[in-house]
Amino acid sequence: MNRITLTLALLLVGGVAVSSFAEVHPGTEYIEKNGYNGPETCEECHPGTAAKFLETVHWKHASKVTNVDNLDPHKEYGMKNRIYTMCNGNDVVNNLKEIPKSPETGKSKFSGCNTCHPGNHLSDVGSTGPEAEKAIDCLVCHSSDYDYRNLKPFKDEQGRIVMGQDRSVKAAMSVGKPSTKNCMTCHEAAGGGVLVKRGFMLSKKTDVHAANGMVCVDCHKSKDHKIPTGFDPNNWANDGVRISCADCHSDQPHKDAAYNRHTAKIACQTCHIPRTGGAVAKDFTKWEQSSDKFYEPATLKKEANETVPVYAWYNKTVANEPHFIGPKGSRKDGKSKIYPFKIFLGKAYYNAKDGQLLAMDFAPPMSNGDTLAGVASAAKTLGIKDYKPVPGWQTIYFGSNHMVTKEKALNCINCHAINGVIPFRELGYKDTEIKRLTNPDIYFRKMLKKQEEDW
């Protein structure tokens, strides 16, 4: 018995040692000896990687987009240049800058959408060439010991605004596969605060994948830094590679044949992501003053798991109108499935002359609350001379693709009931179908058996 215990213990210790060893990135001895000099050091072992990285969405903040209406197929779109009401600014009109001094405090601060760009701002979103390659902040994504005090804008001796980086040997010595923390450095506080934009928290408590020790890049597995994404109607830029639940789970993932039959018309997310969260609405036309006397857009927000999703047919193509960004699809097109969405409404200024949504430079309103000055500044940057700003609302459907649950997944009773979560009528079902689909007869015995097993 003791011998068996000892053997198991040794195997366990050995396993832990091997797995720990496997996590140590090769080349740390070189870094310790030669110091860390940014991408040049990384390129010693990964030649050509920096140049390839410049071609990705993480660097360009844009790509060609083929599944969204009313876009020019020859142009690239993304947070670099998009105009919508979750952000209303973008990298172009709301470029990182020192905002005008607050009239109340006389203080200024740095602000801009491209603070979440892995360059140094001198080599900015979409820049190319050797200087851009040298400017890449490899460690912000790959170091587990990054000192975030360095990751902030400052003015250099020439008065240029530079985005700081941690290029210390200490940070470089802990280089490796990005952890959830690395990804959430930028993705957590997008849209104006923690969990505001997408409203999901990838933690052991809230996501079955995280509970099983998985991190973001276990699903979003990249090749040449091209990171696969799903088809969130509001997330347009992509690296041309996609992921879906079925990549790992197949399209017949359940032991129960009845559940498997659902996968033809019901997306996995519909049952396995029963809640969403984050910002519900924002008003960019009237900003609120914060304790530091600067202004921020007024935002109504909920916690990560507090909001019931909206369900709609989605064939992975997107309606893109000035007042609506959301899923296209129908019950009868043969391509759509029912998906859950986080719904969001944003108020901003539209151009009464052509009905288009106007963008905003955040610097003026952040300083003194003057939102129309922000619109004027953005219009000037974009060369728009003939405009008349009028407030209006835009509805946006966000994909709900995280916070996956197995235990709290919807079951027959949640949907197939008169007060069930699926709005059958709105989804195109006839009254006779609805009567049948919401009658317990279709699942009564099966759920009764499960109920008995549970107790």
């Binding site: 959408c113 603070t115 979440c116 010991d145 990054y146 000192d147 975030y148 005090r149 923390k181 450095t185 930028c186 506080a189 997008a190 849209g191 104006g192 605060g193 923690v194 969990l195 505001v196 933690s203 914060s290 304790s291 530091d292």
Partner: protein, 108 residues
């Protein structure tokens, strides 16, 4: 008589336990928004930290105890730092203001 006293003592013990346990569990959650003025963290392996927040509404300093792993990690690598404005919920447990929610208000 001895038996009666023992039962009475047991009852008192259980009543006291119930009072303290429920008293702790039902402590009111307090919400505040404030700016970090002090961070006290005992090294990289610390399992707890205290952060002083200056309450935006009252101007008073409130010392918050942080025990959760994610916030501790953010304090250690300075994702949360001095002068950051924080939205915080805490409960008073054993005389300490123990955080249950501690997030920066700012985003991009």
């Amino acid at each position: 008589m001895k038996k009666f006293l023992s039962i009475a003592a047991l009852c008192v013990f259980f009543a006291a336990t119930l009072f303290f346990v429920t008293g702790t569990a039902q402590a009111d959650e307090i919400k505040m928004v404030g700016v970090i003025t002090v961070i006290e963290l005992a090294g990289k392996d610390a399992t707890t930290a205290t952060v002083t927040l200056k309450d935006n509404k009252t101007g008073e300093n409130v010392v918050i105890t942080i025990n959760d792993e994610l916030t501790l990690d953010k304090l250690k690598d300075h994702r949360i730092a001095l002068d950051d404005e924080i939205r915080c919920k805490y409960k008073v447990i054993d005389g300490k203001n123990v955080s249950s929610y501690f997030r920066k208000t700012a985003g991009c």
